[in-house]
Symmetry: C2
């Protein structure tokens, strides 16, 4: 669906940000700050080349980077750029390999933009791929885990210059320990996770993510009917158009958790959707019935501009549409559903695709 | 006061355990399990040579090892021996230096015994020194911190084989992050902290700790009046003899916290002491007045045998004596008091030496 992108320059950032916000499904960090940081880095260091795995040497080190923690905290506690240099230095020393590219750990939200800044600062290309094809709250909810890889090397760093290296025995264990460190760091930290070589990354990452985000952004920016265009571009179903009437949000244990209620207006008057949130929008309920759920993507978008509204920015009175669209096929495999389906988040129901749920009416 | 010890063999363990329990001031982990583990390791690998800094090469790597966490948890979640091998392998790889000796991070409690087991298993000598001269609850409450060293390298490992490496910017930060990892690990973990070379350790550790613990143990074991002998050996004041009438103990945030009330009997009838605990005995109050406090050592000992009773083993009805004795002089420096005096634990009073408090009556 998307043209292959070969360069991210200042002019590309707006489209990338729009697309990342959509793929963030409410999480990954709001894109405004990330856009500013990416633009600044491109201004200082020049545009960032976007490459595919085929263009990189097999034994080169891939740096999958992003922020971990509650987006409600990340919006105030922003990275200062030094992370990238610490990550490269530390990981090259630990592995004895040379870093050849930066990758977004998650393309969703600010985490799709900050790696542009880090790549610019390091003078490295950005890989046209990510670990999720969206945003997910937990460390092991990545394509590498679904592909059977262990998180052999995870590094966290904070704005003070602390570096914590995890070599743990499983993905679930990585989540527990990385989350504890993140909370000790103040609720948000920069992380390199599932660090691997280019060769190991083949078949274990989601390819084309940067191109896809930019394509989504460009389609919406150029459109006179952005909501319709967005739905067409990503293959989304419009679940409801309405008004935010209730927002419940707490930040605890390194996550933003809560719920949002949207009451229908216009053709949807008399209906209401309730979204449940753990950094990202997890499930959309209507009268107790599931209308869409993880791993499919659920977005709260501005009813007019189709701008995605991040978890930490949803507020009473906003006029929004709630849309949902299919996740990357890897999340619909048995191991994908086990890793990031409803039961992985403690829900007591089985995953059904958004297509099936919509068809069932 | 103490003869220099040159070998720890199975026969030495009883005396070492008795002495470590006293120097643990209630914490550092009860010594029974640690004794069994040390005896087993000596049985499997032979006795452990005890050396001084002068016998080691300046650029050799020192492995200061111990358990971190709540002793109430450590009593059930014991190390399996594999820690030592992981620590050496990991630290030699990270630093490019060769490990030449194991040191107890804290001589108090089980943490004075487990390093014997680890040294035996690694075939390394044990340094006749430690980082505290007693036990303290927090990571940065060590002689290295008082000497102005940063915790450049801290490694934690759990029984599953996970390894977490901290390179943080201050001692207080090390405590926060290491504690968070410990809690994620289940409340107890093995730790190598303030890892440094032999040269760096000169003037930054407390020397003679192993010899001292064994000397204390031997004096008490051979005595017909163990309480009096113990007090004479360590220079302790007997604060009260009585019965434990109240024990409050909770395990949270990676610490055992609580209080113990001892009501006087015999000559002390009508009096009562209240001890406040954070892993170790921190302060002894009588009628709201401070009778002794950190960094001086406060011990609850069996009224007949003079065996120290660990925090996690104090219980209603025990007949005990409460004794207090002076800490190593480094803890009475301005930086020592700042690091581990009453205010470091949130108390609103200044440190006074136990000698001064006893003299004031």
């Amino acid at each position: 669906m998307s043209d292959r992108i070969r360069l991210v320059d200042a002019a590309t950032i707006s489209a990338l940000a729009r697309g990342c916000a959509i793929l963030g499904t409410g999480g990954g960090g709001e894109v405004y700050t990330g856009s500013l940081i990416a633009r600044q880095a491109i201004g200082d260091h020049g545009p960032v080349r976007v490459v595919t795995l085929d263009e990189l040497p097999d034994d080169g080190l891939l740096l999958p980077l992003g922020m971990i923690g509650a987006p409600t905290i990340a919006v105030e506690k922003i990275p200062n750029g030094g992370e990238a240099i610490r990550f490269r230095h530390h990981l090259e020393r630990l592995t004895g390999k040379t870093a050849v590219a930066v990758m977004s750990s998650e393309i969703g939200g600010s985490n799709g933009l900050l790696p542009v800044a880090w790549a610019a600062r390091l003078g490295l290309p950005l890989l046209d791929a990510d670990s999720m094809g969206r945003a997910f709250p937990e460390v092991h909810q990545v394509a590498q885990h679904v592909a059977g890889h262990h998180p052999e090397l995870i590094v966290l760093t904070d704005e003070r210059g602390s570096v914590v290296t995890l070599q743990v025995v499983s993905g679930a264990w990585a989540e527990a320990v990385a989350r504890a460190v993140t909370v000790a760091f103040g609720g948000s930290a920069a992380m390199a996770d599932y660090v691997m070589t280019v060769g190991e990354a083949r078949g274990a990452v989601i390819v084309g993510s940067v191109s896809r985000a930019i394509a989504i952004g460009r389609a919406v920016i150029g459109s006179r009917e952005p909501v319709a265009t967005l739905c067409e571009t990503v293959g989304a179903f419009r679940l409801l158009e309405g008004k935010v009437v209730d927002v419940e949000r707490t930040t605890s244990g390194g996550f933003a958790r809560g719920s949002v209620v949207v009451e229908g207006v216009g053709v949807d008057v008399g209906r209401a959707l309730r979204l449940e949130i753990q950094n990202e929008n997890l499930v959309a309920f209507e009268d107790g019935r599931v209308r869409a759920s993880v791993p499919d993507l659920i977005c709260v978008i501005d009813a007019v501009t189709a701008d995605a509204i991040a978890t930490e920015h949803v507020r009473y009175g906003q006029r929004v549409a709630v849309i949902a669209f299919p996740c990357d096929p890897i999340w619909r495999t048995a191991r994908g559903i086990e890793t990031a389906g409803p039961r992985a988040f403690g829900y007591e129901f089985d995953y059904e695709t958004v297509e099936a749920l919509v068809a069932a009416g």
